[in-house]
């Protein structure tokens, strides 16, 4: 991989779903994500945002082009150092909260004391300490998503991919979960890529927002937010916030209209 500054990189990536319908879902697109950056990606419905995440995570292979993470080509498996949080509830319902969080650590073969220490730390950080023995079904949707984030966090990933993780939550919970995500990002120093359909969420959380076109998704703009690293959800009251979301919408609106046309066609 050339360009050592990029923590993750896509070059000329496309994703085509073969078969009778033959859907060209993504690209060709290029992307550099800098080490420690918080990048949000927005785009119209069906533009291939989740496909982009799957390619970066190693969950889907590109039809053409290359995906790289830490100078290694991503080829069909999830590389070590990558953590993924999905929109859907991915907590294991048969395990307690503590066992959910410990799942990856047990697979990694860590000793019991180290697992307990890391699980307690992650649960405390995510405010789940008193729910360690609860089962996911006993928790709210927001808390279950926190369990999934804790399960990712505990493995100390260097690149965290989040696919609309707060999509199923109410607005207030989303703002607070955004704060927790920023806290997590600052504490771990990890690179974060957040897929979201919410422009305000992208504008509030990210260092930089990538705007994608209608399908097949390509990047049509990258908008830096200019927020300080030590930020939280209160940036929504800053005067620049409105201008930022308006700028994102001005890029996105024609693409969303185009996507609606595709959907009607």
């Amino acid at each position: 991989m050339s360009g050592a500054a990029a923590h993750a990189r896509l070059t000329g990536v496309t994703r085509v779903y073969a078969g009778p319908t033959h859907v060209h879902a993504l690209g060709p697109l290029d992307l550099d994500v800098a080490r420690g950056e918080f990048l949000a990606v927005v785009g119209p419905s069906g533009c291939g945002k989740s496909t982009l995440l799957d390619v970066l995570a190693g969950l889907a292979a590109p039809s053409s082009g290359e995906a790289w993470f830490e100078d290694r080509r991503i080829a069909g498996t999830v590389p070590d150092g990558i953590g993924v949080v999905f929109q859907e509830d991915a907590s294991f319902p048969w395990l307690t909260v503590a066992d959910n969080v410990a799942f990856g650590l047990r697979r990694a073969g860590l000793d019991g004391a180290e697992i307990r220490r890391r699980v307690e730390d992650a649960l405390g950080f995510m405010g789940l300490g008193e729910f360690a023995r609860a089962y996911p079904a006993q928790l709210s949707g927001g808390m279950r998503q926190r369990v999934c984030i804790a399960r990712t966090l505990v493995l100390a990933p260097r690149f965290i991919l989040l696919d609309e993780p707060f999509g199923a939550l109410d607005q207030q919970t989303r703002l607070l979960m955004g704060d927790e995500l920023l806290r997590l990002w600052r504490r771990t120093g990890a690179t974060v890529l957040l897929i979201t359909h919410a422009l305000d969420e992208a504008a509030m959380l990210a260092d930089r927002v990538g705007v994608m076109s209608a399908r097949p998704g390509r990047f049509i703009a990258f908008v830096p937010t200019g927020w300080p690293r030590d930020r939280d959800s209160r940036v929504v009251s800053a005067p620049e916030f409105g201008a930022l979301t308006a700028q994102l919408w001005s890029h996105l609106r024609p693409e969303s209209l185009r996507a609606m046309g595709q959907a009607r066609a």
């Binding site: 995570a57 509830d89 991915a90 294991f92 697979r107």
Partner: protein, 253 residues
């Protein structure tokens, strides 16, 4: 008292009431005691016939046969369910056959099984297995269909191989439906084998009940019937309690 306990209490009271009513009908002579023993008489007969040791070999044979047929049915049913889940075309082709499987009275094949395998335990095992395995396969399919795809993605993110994904994610995710299958498979295996022993067998609990019936030995017949009923109900209740416990954990109740 929780609602669950209240329902359980009501259920026990209903059964106890029915048993008490039957006892009263038999004791009062409204029901001829030669036709039907009172429940207390059945219980006493059950204890006596089992304590005598005369049917110990039959009990062991029946339970061993059920255990073998049940074990094979569960293993084969899970394997077939997993295969059909992985092969949608094969599943589409077999779906109508599976759906109508229990419309066929399997016992009609018993003479054929005896002709093929001889008058021994094998036809009974085949009958119990054939009765149970499709229920297990169907339950496995349901469980696999209901396993959320996102959990399989989570398994890939944790870099689990196929075997560890199956053991650590798919199996527990599908476990409520698998337990339903296990419960049905045990019931069907029991029915298949006891009924098979009734028709053509020289030993086993089903044979002993039929023999007692033919010999007008009501005490032995009712004693053994009660024994079979209690064992089958206890096994089913234990599996049902386990299944409900797993399902309650998933639903947060």
């Amino acid at each position: 008292m929780s609602r669950r306990r209240a329902v359980l209490g009501g259920r026990i009271a209903l059964i106890a009431g029915a048993v008490a009513a039957l006892e009263m009908l038999c004791r009062s002579g409204i029901v001829d005691p030669l036709t039907l023993l009172p429940p207390s008489g059945m219980a006493a007969a059950m204890v006596a016939v089992i304590a005598s040791g005369s049917v110990t070999g039959d009990i062991l044979r029946t339970f061993t046969t059920v255990a073998v047929a049940f074990g094979l049915a569960v293993a084969f049913g899970i394997a077939v369910g997993a295969l059909l889940h992985a092969a949608p075309r094969l599943r589409r082709a077999l779906d109508p056959l599976l759906a109508s499987y229990y419309a066929v009275p399997l016992f009609v094949f018993y003479p054929l099984l005896v002709a093929l395998f001889g008058l021994n335990v094998v036809p009974l095992i085949v009958l119990g297995f054939a009765s149970a395995t499709v229920a297990m396969a169907m339950s496995t399919l349901t469980g696999l269909d209901r396993t959320p795809r996102v959990l399989l993605k989570a398994a890939r993110v944790h870099r689990l191989g196929r075997l560890r994904t199956a053991l650590l994610v798919v199996l527990p995710a599908a476990s409520p439906d698998l337990l339903t299958g296990v419960k049905l498979a045990l019931a069907y295996a029991f029915i298949g084998i006891i009924a098979g022993e009734f028709i053509l067998s020289g030993s086993g609990l089903g044979y002993q009940i039929a023999y007692a019936y033919d010999s007008f030995d009501n005490r032995t017949m009712y004693g053994l019937m009660l024994f079979v009923l209690l064992i089958a109900t206890a096994a089913n209740a234990a599996l049902h309690a386990w299944e409900q416990r797993v399902r309650r954990r998933r639903s947060g109740r």
